[in-house]
Amino acid sequence: MNPKLVEKLSLWQLAILIFIFEVGSVAVVGVGQEAKQDAWIAIALATGIGIGLIAFYMFLLSKLPGKNLFEILVFCLGKWVGKFIGALYVLYFFYIASRVLRDFCELIITVIFKRTPIETIAITMMLVIVYMLYLGLEVLGRTSEVFIPYVFSFIIFIGLGTLFSGEMEFKNLQPILADGIGPIAKAIFPQLLTFPFGEMIAFMMIIPYLTKFKKAGKVSIAAVAISGLMIIYASVIQITTLGLNMWERSSFPLLSAAREISLLAFIERVDLIIVFIVMYGIIVKVSVFFYGGLKGIEVIINKPYRTLVFPLGMVISYFSIQISDTFAEHIEEGIMVIPMFLHLPFQLFIPALITPILIWKVKKQQRRTDNESV
């Protein structure tokens, strides 16, 4: 007797998923270094753009309720072209999933383990994700519901902990807007725009499966806004605790910041909290991308995705190691290649291109049904 494997998410679960998706990895990796001490301003502005972005995605989805990105592509571009673009999206999602997984493996290897091969981390992590997705999207949503209090309160705790340990120095945030808005603009475009906010394109695969689709827009906008606030909070912690120089040089700034916590002469060395936040954040992120890709394949080959979870999960863990030989290559690709050649086209250009076609086709369809009904 298998439990019913339902693929429905509640609004609350969607909000949680978006929150963890956005905050999980970004809070730890640290973003907006180009903007220096004004990173939080850059993030605030980028959150505004991110809200616009998700509103735009929601607009696309609302034109054809219940259809996901791939079905919209097929609807707009016809069966063959649509499926081809869809296949490119599948590749994009899988590739990003591998990259995200790699981020986490690097963290674990650098921070916790010295001799453990990175490959085992990738595989074990992927097995957990495979197990989760095999049980369905709903399980992902519910697991996140269980963990959200921890993720949320741990991030808050890090802030309070560093504050009460006396490690925060708010003067590190000064001077504000020293070099004008040039650096901020540079930080926003393309880095902050695409990572973390643009990556929400993957939610175009999930939002159609909501129980209450109509309210999804407002909820996801609220979730993006809250996660924006959280990222600002995290970056303020990082900058004030570490100082500008250290922050720019740290691979995992929130971790370095958390290491400064020392309360009651006993609560110290709380690295584990960070590892947990990242770990769960990464699980959600990889799952969402992976799920997006799988759903795309489902549309393309017309078969349920469940049997594909395990083999393709292994492929992702394989590529998480293969995408780059060295950490330097990984970072360089992340800065030079990925935003311009992968993120921007897939997150902005293609959706922007299909918008007019979509509107036109939907109108045509409506007219036809109107005519028929008349």
């Binding site: 007797m1 439990p3 019913k4 383990f113 197990y131 399980v139 519901e145 006993f266 690295d271």
Partner: protein, 527 residues
């Protein structure tokens, strides 16, 4: 006949339960026909029961008719039988009026609980149930009389789930007594008990108890269907049934709640759950059950709410402790020395000096020893049990440390884990932590804290994928229900708790109207 028997019957007819005693006998290839000829019936019975020593067929004469009374001598009180039946027979034999079976009953056994058996299956069934069956020659029906006084245990204090404040009754083996214990507490005519017979050989009576206008119909049907599907030789305890109606077998977590406390069963029934009574078992099941049920004791509702909330928090914490403390020890001491405060690390290290085993082996030895001791302590006769605990305490606590086999800290870890694992009010929930603990220790030994975290995540994934009769196992937490939070991690005052658990989708979700907040009497006048 008592009230609930009538209710039984009503529902048996209404629902048309297929699983009746007759059907079960058909499986056993016993013929159904009841003859008007007494001899044939007698022979049929004798063939069936063969030469079991306690089966009696005594020929008597009632109202000048050939008759016989058949019964299992071990199942009923022979004195009562003599008083009731044989005296009646004696007194009636003087008359020479032909009476049919209804008249016989009305005349001679007006006070006895009775049932007519119009087919042979019923006759056999009533004999097996400890009735005395009177068969009269030439009649189409037999009369089964309840003589009563079967041996059973008196109601005592619960032995597995003791509480300090609250009712001190517990269920016993007899199903009718158990049902009456519930009935006495819930005086609601919509409280319904449906019975069915399960078990090819034991033919155990199983009853589903619920309140008709609260319980969700879909869940109830699911319960009925699953119980109907149960096909098993013997039902000796509710545990047997439990395994058949679980949603998923491959899980360490109990998917049905069981208790021997009538008050907590009543609480569950009032919330909109179904209770499953099994004859012969003092443990009654309730379904659907969710994880948080296992952290709630009925005493929580009898003590002040602040205290109860605190104790509940303690339970959740000790659940986590029982689960992860040993693995945390392994992970921290063999992988992440840097995460421990210096002083703590030094004192642990100092105690581990000279211990010959790696930390994993050390903790495995101690945990295993403890499990063995616990098992021995449970199985031993009570007189010897003392010895076991003394030996255990000495061997584990003292000698092992002094011999340098294990370290002091480890003893503390194991002892604290063990005590923490006893905190869960329901025993079979604490068993699940025992099993998972060992897996967690393995994970910690292989991957350190990363392994522990990974396994905890897997465990949560598993938990959220579980369902108990269609209700998500982690129900008020995930999917999150704000309305139910008043009785999950904390217990808010009873007057705030106005709704039944929403995850049960009850027919009447509102328990009571109005706030009912207690307040001091209004001040009269002003001035």
């Amino acid at each position: 006949m008592s009230l609930f028997d009538i209710l039984f019957k009503r529902h048996k007819n209404k629902q048309g339960n297929k699983k009746t005693e007759e059907e079960l006998f058909e499986q056993d290839e016993i013929s159904k026909q009841y003859f008007t000829n007494l001899k044939k019936n007698k022979n049929q019975l004798k063939n069936l029961f063969q030469d079991t020593f306690d089966f009696n067929i005594d020929s008597i004469k009632i109202a000048d008719q050939e008759a016989c009374v058949c019964y299992l001598g071990t199942m009923l009180d022979k004195d009562a039988l003599t008083n009731k039946v044989l005296n009646a027979a004696k007194s009636s034999s003087k008359q020479s009026l032909l009476m049919d079976i209804e008249e016989i009953r009305d005349t001679y056994f007006p006070t006895c609980a009775f049932e007519y058996a119009d087919n042979f299956h019923k006759v056999v069934w009533q004999v097996l149930n400890g009735y005395a069956v009177i068969m009269v020659d030439g009649q189409k029906k037999a009369l089964a009389l309840e003589i009563g006084n079967k041996e059973h245990r008196a109601i005592m204090e619960p032995s597995t789930q003791t509480i300090i404040r609250g009712p001190k009754e517990s269920f016993v083996e007899n199903i009718n007594t158990n049902i009456s214990l519930v009935r006495r507490r819930i005086k609601n005519p919509r409280l319904t008990f449906e019975s069915m017979i399960i078990g090819r050989d034991t033919k155990t009576t199983v009853a589903i108890g619920y309140i008709g206008n609260i319980m969700n119909e879909d869940i109830l049907n699911e319960v009925r269907n699953r119980l109907k599907k149960v096909d098993i030789g013997g039902v000796l305890d509710s545990g047997n049934i439990e395994e058949f109606i679980k949603d998923k077998s491959f899980t360490p977590f109990p998917l049905t709640f069981n208790t021997e406390r009538p008050d907590s069963i009543c609480g569950h029934i009032l919330e909109g759950k179904a209770a499953i009574f099994v004859d012969g078992s003092p443990f009654v099941l309730t379904v659907p059950s969710v994880l948080t049920d296992f952290f709630q004791s009925s005493e929580d509702y009898y003590q002040p709410f602040l205290m109860s909330s605190f104790i509940r928090a303690i339970r959740y914490i000790s659940f986590m402790v029982a689960l992860v403390l040993p693995s945390l020890y392994v992970a921290l001491s063999t992988f992440h020395q840097e995460l421990m405060p210096t002083q703590l690390l030094v004192s642990i290290q100092a105690q581990r000096e000279g211990v010959p085993f790696p930390a994993v082996i050390e903790i495995f030895i101690m945990e295993l020893t403890f499990e063995v001791l616990r098992e021995a302590g449970v199985r031993m006769p009570r007189a010897v049990g003392q010895t076991v605990s003394i030996v255990g305490a000495l061997v584990i606590g003292q000698a092992a440390v002094e011999a340098g086999l294990v370290s002091n800290v480890l003893v503390i870890v194991v002892a604290f884990t063990a005590i923490a694992s006893f905190v869960s009010p329901i025993y079979n929930f604490s068993i699940s932590t025992r099993l998972l603990r060992f897996i967690l220790i393995l994970c910690a030994a292989v991957y350190g804290l990363y392994g522990v975290l990974l396994f905890l995540i897997v465990m949560v994934i598993h938990l959220v994928s579980l369902r108990s009769f269609g209700v998500p196992y982690l129900a008020p937490i995930a999917p999150f229900k704000l309305e139910d939070q008043g009785d999950v991690f904390v217990r808010l005052p009873l007057w705030t708790n106005r709704t039944r658990p929403t995850y049960l989708y009850t027919k009447s979700p509102i328990k009571k109207e109005g706030s009912g907040k207690p307040s001091p009497p209004m001040q009269k006048g002003g001035g």
